[in-house]
Symmetry: C2
Subunit: 165 residues, 2 copies
Amino acid sequence: MSNDSHLSDLLLALDYFPMDEDTPDDLLPFMGFLIAKAAQTIVETVDESMASFGISSRHYGVMLMLSRHDGLPQVAVGEKLRIDRTTMVKLVDDLEKQDLVERRRDPHDRRAYALSLSEKGREMLPEISRRAVEVERASLASLKQDEIRQLFRILLKLVKGTRTT
Amino acid sequence: MSNDSHLSDLLLALDYFPMDEDTPDDLLPFMGFLIAKAAQTIVETVDESMASFGISSRHYGVMLMLSRHDGLPQVAVGEKLRIDRTTMVKLVDDLEKQDLVERRRDPHDRRAYALSLSEKGREMLPEISRRAVEVERASLASLKQDEIRQLFRILLKLVKGTRTT
DNA sequence: GCTGATAATCAGTATAACTGATTATATTGT
DNA sequence: ACAATATAATCAGTTATACTGATTATCAGC
């Protein structure tokens, strides 16, 4: 309650919104900032909701990835999620301790692990996902269905467009 | 070149796109993820572009804030930017060392600092902003002007909608 | 003036990203 | 087949950030 002066105030107060003209140059300095803050908000709430499962949003991301790409080596999951190789070690350690993910040796490349959801992981994932969706929906509550779809489409285009490779 | 398998592939490959139906529930589990990755991409590139000025995107954010709210106390800047009070100390230390920002005692509240851009800070900011805009524009290159405007509008609505107060 | 709140700071802890090295295994070139 | 090089995972150590709790100075209300 002490704090009704948010970044949105900054932006609003400063006539960066609405942007009537077709020169979004004025608002570009704030774009990165705005995306970062939106991300921060959502990630924080997802993290909170995942806490009761003993994991973070990042662990959830790994599980989500494995649900679709079973048997992927650790490094590949990291590349897809843009998580550092050494950070992946810790994440998978955590997930293994919770018995949500298994490390098996890849028979075709015995340096690598083939990561899979464990039995428990497969069982839990729908429930975990349901929670994540709940809070994400809540985070997006101020948006119309149509806006959510647009946002998704635009972000996807953005992420696709900026490949570092 | 080793890595053409990005998160976008995940999403595309999995028919999460295009989302023809009016049930974005299927894609909601990926929304937070997608925003986070978009943010990561932009923040990283902005950080890189700021490096030649000896600052990070966070320092830039503080300067941008001060350019609009001169004389704000440290804690207020932190609240607006959602940066921890103790982290602000370090950020302002850095900016002061670079002589971009000044801490003056607020005459009305001698506990607080009134933060201001220094002379040099005021001079530099347009140049710094120009660089930031350059790389942000590059990050958004895959989007049409119209999509950038939409994205901005939607994100602003989202951030406004999810006040933690 | 006393009490409780607040701005900034500092010390200490926890987490994450990153660097560089190591081990085991794979791949490539000859 | 063998040597050189590359790769997957790990570990140790460094750095950046967030957060907690305490301290100091100051403010505001009674």
